[in-house]
Amino acid sequence: MARNDISSLFGKSPINPLQQHMKQVHLCLKEFAFFAKAASEENWEKAEVSRNSIIKKENKADELKKKLRMNLPSTFMMPFSRRDLLDLLLIQDSIANITKDLAGLMTTRKMVFPVEIAHEFLDLVTVCVNTSDAALEAINELDELLETAFSSRERKVVDAIVTRINALEHESDKMQHQIRTKLFALETTLPPVDVMFYYRAIEWLGETADAAQKVGSRLEVMLAK
């Protein structure tokens, strides 16, 4: 007897898949730290291994994204708006996409930063990884938020994490500015096409921190329904 209104009432919760997706995305960026290190040492074999791992993780994130979307009919009644959730998913996903593109760009161009800014670039990578780590932490609060039915107490926990994310993103902005300033001073001594792509790589890397920040702010919008 295939009738039961009660079990058909419960849809699949999107919270765990969303957390899985963010975790995958964060792992992507974390792997990029290894990639950047290998690239700075001009160890392209090792870098290639890391890049493949990034691609694999990005694919997995894509799959999770598709699966989550498929399991989210518009008839779902959720404690947050479906629109916000889907936006959040897209923002999370962009971190993995940018990371994959950046690793691709650096591999094909065998990009090695000039010594004057090489170290700073790696520092910027670390800050970006930390930003996305904090975003993951915020997303991981979602099940606690649900349990308390989005109470003010639990929201304060998330607010604190979001404040941290914002501070990290601000730091990444500052570092980008420093690297660009130094790069500008070096411009005349370097091949112009390389310089162009240095700027682009720095910009893309910064975008991952921007996206992580957007994850935090979108999450806050979701809570304040």
Binding site: M1, A2, R3, N4, D5, I6, S7, S8, L9, F10, G11, K12, S13, P14, I15, L72, P73, T75, F76, M77, M78, P79, D143, E144, L146, E147, T148, A149, F150, S151, S152, R153, E154, K225
Partner: protein, 423 residues
């Protein structure tokens, strides 16, 4: 008259068989709704769930089922119109049982939404209006019943919303949810015992010959609530805070306290379910028995014989044993969203609503009330994802089941009439 004298035993046997079948269907399917939540939360095993369900469904049917049985038996149709042809009432009620039973089988095998309550009510109204005459139906009563189908899920949803909000404020959203759970959960246990026993004492017990005045009733209900709370408090005393299990999810220990409460609430739900669904499944049997017992005289004031309710109880037990464990297992795994705290709020709201309906003699759909209650928790932002397509399914079940039950009972009614005229 001769027909009843000649074929009374055969007719009664058929009625018992179909009443049993209806109760079996209720036991096999709907009981799982109440127990699935407890099994899914890991509070009890399937075996324990079935034992609890058997005890409380049974006592619900016997202690609090009388009013609903009375409605089905003599509330929907104007019995005085059958005074000259009592056998028509017997055919009709038999046809209703047959129709509801067949419809239950057909719809279930096709996976359509179906409610025993709706098919029985539709069937009785159908044969009454067409087989006997539009005047035979007590339309105002039918109107009240139809209204209750809309009101009951909304009422349950409202109660669930408020209950869940109170849990949120007193326990979940506090500094020490675990300690507060241990402090306040016994009060909720009291509430479960008090509400269920109060309605039962007021409305149900006179059918088994017990009558209490108002103050005694309140006192008894209070005592019963206190008893439940004491037993429950003793049970949760041993639950300890385990920091390890709370590392990933800070509310695991708190939910363990709620899971005890959930078991008590599920028992209340089983009781409520027994009082409504079983009662309306065997209502036609009670009507047939009444006519045959009195030798065809309608309107003789006869008490509902306990064995009729026993047939209902036995049917439920059979359903649970043969099929219930399978459905409980399926539901239990499907509703992981319904954690004990949510399960409690939704189930108590549903149980209270159903018991009140039973006390008022209104046959309602327990499943739909439970759906309303869960949606109520959802409105309080307590659920991750509820599929509101269920609401369409409920409307569909009203639209499809009522005429289907009516149509089939009309057919069976004329078939029976023809068959026994020939005899």
């Amino acid at each position: 008259m001769e027909i009843i004298a000649n074929y009374g035993d055969l007719l009664l046997f058929m009625a018992v068989a179909f009443g049993l079948f209806m109760a079996w269907g209720v036991g096999a399917n709907d009981v799982a709704n109440a127990m699935g939540t407890s099994v899914g939360s890991g509070a009890i095993t399937i075996k324990q769930a079935i034992i609890i369900a058997v005890i409380f469904e049974f006592s619900g049917a016997i202690l609090a089922g009388g009013e609903v049985t009375a409605t089905i038996r003599k509330g929907i149709l104007d019995a005085s119109l059958f005074a000259d042809d009592p056998h028509l009432l017997v055919y009709g009620m038999l046809a209703s049982l047959l129709a509801a039973g067949f419809w239950l089988m057909i719809a279930s095998s096709l996976g359509w939404p179906v409610s025993t309550t709706h098919s029985i009510v539709g069937a009785i109204v159908g044969f009454g209006a067409v087989g006997v005459g539009v005047d035979a139906v007590a339309w105002d009563k039918v109107g009240t019943i139809a209204m209750s189908w809309i009101v009951s899920p909304i009422l349950a949803g409202t109660i669930a919303f408020m209950l869940f909000r109170s849990l949120q404020n007193l326990i979940i959203d506090t500094e020490n949810p675990f300690d507060n759970a241990k402090r306040y959960v016994p009060f909720y246990m009291f509430l479960v015992g008090f509400v269920i026993s109060l309605v039962t004492i007021f409305k149900g017990l006179k059918h088994i010959g017990l009558n209490f005045d108002t103050s005694t009733s309140y006192l008894l209900a209070f005592g019963f609530g206190a008893l439940v709370a004491i037993v429950g408090a003793w049970w949760i005393r041993g639950i300890r805070l385990d920091p390890d299990e709370n590392r990933d999810f800070h509310f695991t220990s708190m939910e363990r306290v709620f899971s005890v409460l959930m078991v008590i609430t599920a028992a209340a739900m089983a009781f409520a379910h027994g009082s409504n669904d079983v009662a309306n499944a065997i209502g036609p049997l009670a009507a047939i028995y009444g006519v045959i017992e009195s030798g065809g005289i309608i309107g003789v004031k006869s008490i509902l014989p306990p064995w009729v309710l026993l047939v209902g109880g036995a049917g439920i037990v059979l359903g649970l044993i043969t099929y219930g464990h399978k459905v409980i297992a399926t539901i239990g795994t499907g509703i992981t969203q319904l954690t004990p705290s949510r399960g409690f709020a939704a189930t108590l709201a549903a149980a209270a609503t159903v018991v009140i309906a039973s006390g008022t003699g209104l046959p309602i759909s327990t499943t739909q009330v439970l759906v309303g209650a869960v949606l109520g928790v959802g409105f309080a932002r307590g659920m991750a994802a509820l599929d509101t397509r269920v609401i369409n399914k409920i409307f569909l079940s009203w639209i499809v089941t009522l005429p289907a039950g009516a149509l089939m009972s009309i057919l069976f009614f004329f078939a029976l009439k023809g068959a026994f005229v020939g005899a």
